[in-house]
């Protein structure tokens, strides 16, 4: 059974483990899309799985596992993001904020990747999550819609706007340089 299809039955622990395994990579993308930082994706997914496993009775037969787990991951990821922001405010107040140092000698790809990462951070949470799900794990719009509990058209619109904004933000990097005229 696909995690995106409505499940007619209640979830047993064994069924949960099977469906979780089938969707863990997608759930990781949702977590990273919400927090905007891949460093905490695994922690959030694991915590969400253990929380959900303890609340199997809250799963409603007739709904999809992906929607149910997606909601739990988003909730925990939002909590995590809020905590990180509060912590950052505290660190800023202490004047101890760590600013990433430039990487001398970094190659062009590394530099471009950093620009892409910065541009991704400029997107809204929904745009970022939809774009990662579509681009990185190549979900269909209907699957994104089921996972994030939104219409497929909305998911498509988020991806389209995210791509447009990314291109605009990265115009300098993606536009081929013109050779200087002699």
């Amino acid at each position: 059974m696909s995690p995106y299809d409505p499940s007619p039955d209640r979830l047993t622990p064994a069924r949960f483990a099977t469906l979780f395994r089938a969707s863990s990579r997608v759930l990781w993308c949702v977590a990273v899309g919400v927090v905007g930082d891949r460093a905490h994706g695994e922690d959030i997914v694991q915590e969400a799985a253990l929380v959900a496993l303890g609340k199997l009775d809250t799963f409603r037969p007739g709904t999809s596992f992906a929607a149910w787990m997606g909601q739990t991951v988003r909730y925990l990821a939002l909590n995590h993001r809020r905590k990180v922001r509060r912590r950052q405010v505290a660190l800023d107040a202490e004047g101890t904020r760590l600013v990433p140092a430039g990487l001398p000698g970094a190659d062009a790809q590394t530099s471009f990747d950093r620009s892409v990462s910065n541009a991704l951070a400029e997107l809204s949470e929904s745009q970022r999550t939809c774009l990662l799900l579509k681009t990185v794990v190549e979900l269909e719009y209907a699957e994104i819609a089921a996972l994030l509990e939104m219409p497929a058209g909305t998911a498509m619109s988020h991806v389209s706007r995210a791509r447009a904004k990314m291109r605009a933000l990265l115009e300098v990097e993606t536009t081929p340089r013109k050779e200087a005229m002699p």
Binding site: F20, R21, Q46, K83, D113, V136, Y141
Partner: protein
């Protein structure tokens, strides 16, 4: 599922898409999947065992002994099913699970080699009790681990522990060390049966330890006979706290806040 037409299809060789794939491809999640499978198997076994216990009481008018063989079979079947489930689910079979630069799908499963005790054995309570009893007798190695002590701004500690049980900085007991949680130090390092533990100095100068667990990973420790420590249990929100202390009353666990 039928796929609607893309409003703005990405070019085949879109450098942005390529960069996103490079940077945001999910890592191998086998360790997490294995842990979830183990927890699920434990839960499944507990449920079957509970069903078996219900069966042992027997229907009205039927002696409990009449159902005993069936109960034993149910318990045995539960453990066999749990073990089979862990093997079935935790075994790496998915080809796309390993990203570039990481061991392939047929490499030894990381979770199984690093944490062979994911499936809690039947003697978990006694084992956990022995670990807790031994920890304080061995000394205070945990005191050198990360802790939100006076050397850090209290607000950072509070935020770090936000939503998690934590000792307020002004508590009457002193936090000496911490493992698990977001400390960056695993409690496995100290052979502690807890996801998170706090080593504290009590008002008498003695040391005690507070273990913080989720209900689904609760080891339900029992201290070994003759232990010089006492063990106290407290439920705090969605957490279970154990204080192992030489004192006759718990001092640290009641001070822990969410």
């Amino acid at each position: 599922m039928s796929e609607p037409n893309d409003l703005d299809p990405a070019p085949a060789e879109d450098p942005i898409a390529a960069s996103l794939k490079r940077q945001f491809s999910p890592p191998s999640l086998q360790a997490i999947e294995a842990r979830v499978a183990a927890e699920a198997a434990n839960l499944e076994a507990d449920q079957l065992e509970a069903d078996a216990d219900d069966g042992e009481t027997g229907p009205a008018g039927v002696p409990a002994a009449a159902n005993e063989p069936r109960g034993w079979w149910m318990v045995a079947a539960a453990f066999v099913a749990a073990a089979a489930l862990v093997l079935l689910i935790a075994w790496p079979t998915r080809d796309d699970a390993a990203p570039q630069g990481e061991p392939g799908p047929h490499a030894p499963p990381i979770a199984q080699t690093e944490r062979p005790l994911e499936v809690i054995p039947p003697s978990t309570s006694e084992r956990a009790g022995h670990q807790l009893d031994g920890f304080l007798r061995r000394g205070d190695a945990l005191a050198s681990a990360d802790a939100c002590g006076p050397r850090e701004p209290p607000e950072v500690c509070d935020v770090e522990a936000g939503g998690y049980p934590h000792l307020p900085p002004a508590a009457a007991v002193t936090l000496l060390g911490e493992c698990g949680g977001r400390s960056g130090t695993s409690c496995d390092t100290f052979d502690l049966p807890a996801d998170r533990a706090l080593l504290v100095q009590l008002s008498t100068g003695e040391h005690a330890i507070v273990c913080i667990e989720h209900p689904w990973t609760d080891p339900k420790p029992t201290l070994p006979p003759g232990s010089r420590y006492n063990l106290f249990r407290r439920e705090l929100g969605a957490y279970i706290l154990y204080e192992v202390t030489p004192r006759p009353e718990p001092e640290a666990a009641p001070l822990v806040r969410l």
